[in-house]
């Protein structure tokens, strides 16, 4: 029964962690797109987004890109027997504890 308990624990960790990344990042990205794309206009050319909107949009995209980079580090790190550490805020690969 320990196996089932451990598996359920793993599943919960997966849901909990996956939720923030898997739903959160697409939402942040969609927010970025929303800053760039203004409300739909009936006809005529679409208005260009303001500087402020552009900046906000790129902050969103940068956040997502950063998370994707960490994701790739996790994959590469796993192959090298390392894990990603956030101890110094900026992620670095460290040997597996």
């Amino acid at each position: 029964m320990d196996t089932v308990r451990l598996s359920l624990q793993g599943a919960w960790d997966l849901l909990y962690n996956g939720f923030f990344v898997g739903a959160g990042l697409p939402i942040i990205f969609a927010l970025g797109v929303r800053f760039l794309a203004g409300p739909a206009v009936a006809d005529g050319p679409a208005p260009t987004p303001s500087i402020a909107n552009k900046v906000l949009a790129w902050v969103c995209f940068a956040a997502v890109a950063f998370a994707v980079m960490v994701g790739i580090m996790i994959i590469v790190g796993a192959g090298l027997g390392k894990v990603v550490s956030f101890e110094h805020i900026f992620p670095v690969l460290v040997p597996k504890p």
Binding site: A11, G18, R34, I74
Partner: protein, 420 residues
């Protein structure tokens, strides 16, 4: 297929020579079959990463499979972390460090090689069958199922690790049964919530910029899924081939996975991916639910997050089931989307039957190989593999699905019989 032809020609001679040559013939069969499996693994799973990008037109079908193939090729070189212990979670063929059990490596590993060969053939036949039906079933569970079945036949029930020792997630229950049920649900829930919010944010915005933004989001997420797939799946075949080489005695455990093994496995999975399992891509991109760009991005985002989080947490799962679960969940989450539950139902049946069916085929292959014995047994099951795979390939040509018609309006699953 040339390798198989050479082996078949060699067959009659091999039966009358020493056990070294017999084992060598079987080893060559194992390597060829493992690569063939890797190739089917590639085309069976292309859809996981690219289905939604193809559905929304973010990528042209050919561009999508080329991107997925490239990312798989790169991914295959990134990790061999679990390669050498690939069978350990479900069967007892290897010691904890990956060394094949001593009682299985007499006669240059004859006993172990036959079990692995039978398991691989069972896995390929099941993968080809589900591909023919256009069903996204798990290639990893097919491989493990085939090997479990062949082990059951060869060593009996005690050769299979049903549950772990309770200290970590292990055994058939912990590594396959529980994740197989839960992981698609988890991915589905995440994709559902993600899609719902993303659709709210995307609603009523100016079309051109919005479409361009989501297109890039989708391509990035799809690339990440492909990369993770190459990393996870290619090393399973690398592990099987290396296990065969160790059992035969041509490499030691300390040598790890030889570079040429990494290279051919990477090329096989990338080649399979580039071929594109169009029948399965069609089911995932058109069959389950019509996919819009923001929804596709949310689905791919959920898939990549769950796959990466799982490898980070050490929770095993099937890329295919996660990706299918995400697409299904994204359909539930998008207001107004029409999910085809009958297609989803067929898919779930394929998920539930993959392990026992591949296992049964693996066991059957082992019994046939055992019946003939020597080098003849393995060659007979190789002939069965070529015949079975050839037959299913032929059947698929009656109703061909390729990059030209993959995006047509869904009027049902690809029929496998010729309409009279």
């Amino acid at each position: 297929m040339n390798g198989f032809t050479i082996i078949c020609v060699m067959g009659p001679f091999a039966t009358i020579v020493s056990s070294v040559t017999v084992a060598l013939v079987i080893l060559l069969c194992v390597i060829g079959t493992a690569l063939f499996f890797d190739f089917t693994n590639g085309f069976h799973d292309t859809g996981n990463a690219v289905a939604s990008s193809i559905a929304t037109g973010a990528l042209k079908p050919k561009t999508a499979v080329a991107l997925a193939a490239t990312m798989n090729l790169v991914g295959a070189f990134l990790s061999v972390a679990v390669a050498l212990t690939v069978t350990n979670s479900v069967v007892k063929l290897q010691a904890d460090d990956g060394t094949p059990l001593p009682q299985l490596v007499n006669d240059h590993g004859h006993a172990l090689l036959v079990i692995v060969l039978a398991g691989l053939i069972g896995a390929i036949l099941w993968n080809m069958f589900t591909w023919l039906l256009g069903l996204p079933s798990s290639s990893s569970y097919a491989l493990l199922g085939g090997i479990i079945g062949a082990t059951l036949a060869g060593l009996g029930a005690s050769g299979v690790k049903w549950v772990g020792d309770g200290t970590k997630i292990d055994g058939v229950v912990g590594k396959i049964l529980v994740p197989a049920v839960l992981s698609p649900v988890i991915a589905g829930v995440i994709a559902m919530v993600g899609t719902w919010v993303v659709m709210k944010l995307a609603a009523g915005r100016e079309e051109q910029r919005s479409a361009r933004g989501f297109k890039w989001g989708q391509i990035s997420a799809a690339s990440l899924v492909s990369l993770a797939h190459g990393t996870n799946d290619a090393q399973k075949t690398m592990g099987v081939i290396t296990l065969g080489l160790i059992a035969y005695g041509s490499v030691g455990l300390e040598d790890g996975v030889p570079f040429w093994v990494k290279l051919i496995c990477a090329l096989a999975i990338a080649g399979g991916t580039y071929l594109g399992g169009w029948r399965i891509i069609r089911t995932l991109s058109k069959g389950l639910v019509e996919i819009t760009a923001p929804q596709g991005m949310a689905a791919d985002g959920a898939s990549s997050a769950v796959i990466l989080a799982a490898s980070h947490l050490g929770v095993p799962l099937s890329t295919t089931q996660v990706a299918s679960g995400s697409i299904l969940g994204s359909g539930v989450g998008r207001p107004g989307a029409h999910v085809r539950w009958s297609v989803a139902g067929r898919m779930v049946v394929a998920w539930a039957t993959t392990l026992p069916a591949a296992g049964l085929l693996g066991a059957l292959m082992w019994w046939i190989a055992d019946l003939f014995g020597g080098a003849a047994g393995p060659l007979v099951i190789m002939v069965l593999l070529v015949a079975g795979a050839g037959y299913m390939f032929n059947r698929s040509r009656d109703h061909k699905v390729d990059h030209h018609n993959v995006g047509e309006i869904w009027e049902g699953a690809p029929p496998v019989r010729k309409v009279k």
